[in-house]
Symmetry: C2
Subunit: 236 residues, 2 copies
Amino acid sequence: MNLLLLQSSQINGNQATVSGRQLAHLNSVHQADPGSSVRVGEINGLMGTGIVQSINSEFAVLDIELDTPPPPPLPLTLILAMPRPKMLRRTLQSISSLGVKQIYLINSARVEKSFWQTPFLSDEALHNELVLGLEQARDTVMPIVYQRKLFKPFVEDELSDIISDSQAFVAHPSGTEHCPIDIKTPSTLVIGPEGGFVPYEIEKLAQVGVMAVTIGPRILRVETAVPTLISRLFPG
Amino acid sequence: MNLLLLQSSQINGNQATVSGRQLAHLNSVHQADPGSSVRVGEINGLMGTGIVQSINSEFAVLDIELDTPPPPPLPLTLILAMPRPKMLRRTLQSISSLGVKQIYLINSARVEKSFWQTPFLSDEALHNELVLGLEQARDTVMPIVYQRKLFKPFVEDELSDIISDSQAFVAHPSGTEHCPIDIKTPSTLVIGPEGGFVPYEIEKLAQVGVMAVTIGPRILRVETAVPTLISRLFPG
């Protein structure tokens, strides 16, 4: 936790109240005492400094000053075939830490139906993972996660609008073009499931303008592929 | 497992015997029968095709033909402050899948002493994680992992030799230069612990020619930072 990310409900004027996970972190990792200084931010707001006024095992009160804008978001929409639940959690944290703000989780022939049953897809669970990513990276802007459990209607009815005004790529071994480097323009990146999209899905994506691109002969797990592809498009 | 990676002890002429984890995978994921074809490779050797001759709950026998070289390795030496054990395992898999062949795990002021006690540092455990990464990526060349539990002697006595003939970078917020993109030359990349290297360590690294570079304001966990930095240096 490199930033204590506060919800507006925790803030009252220039003071913030901290409990639960964040308090435990202040106590155990920061070993915060009255007077300790920690980096704080408000969800979807500014970042700054918090000075601990009081702290005990129930809650802490901080005097906060918020004056710094968060880092710029990536101009990237990420469309991800729904990963295996245990991989979903850390992949969402990683995506959130990298500065992606629009995330679509979509179905695909090789996504197991059971993946959609995971409790990690609840609004609260998603929020918690995304907050962990923002606290890691020192960012305040919450990503938005959309869930689309039907591949064909998503591609036919929504995807054209999503990728308008952007370049759109799907990482796939059949890609004949190399994935571009340092693209600098708004982009949409589609990443398939374990085992990859089936040919029909690649065709459907191509029909609406999503180009299949390769990053070489190595097949990467989604948690490695996501930062690899994002860093390639936007090395920053 | 996108490649069944065989040890030489499993191979006898044009036949290979498979048991244990790999057999379980053949049975459960590939649902292999006699006649089924799977991609195979020999550790530090060629890749090719295996045809299942017989398979039961104890072992499988495959006819193999090995004729394809593995993908080229990255010209990169990775020096990583010893991560938290549970992160070590998946980071090693990820590093192995990305094609890195020289890995140093080093100590640092912010590495907790207990990290070095983990059973995941045994030769067998390291081998297993690295094999999983190679099987994921379809590669055969085993990375070598060196463990260096003293920072100062490592930097003073070994690092100069390691980085000779390469450009050497340490990712650190104090870096004034941006980490280069698509470098195309042999490189050494140093990645710090959670919380970063302390200033003394950055100074020691600078003294032997390791340049501090930044990748922007976001602080990434090691499992995200590794593919982000590698992809930036070697987008391929």
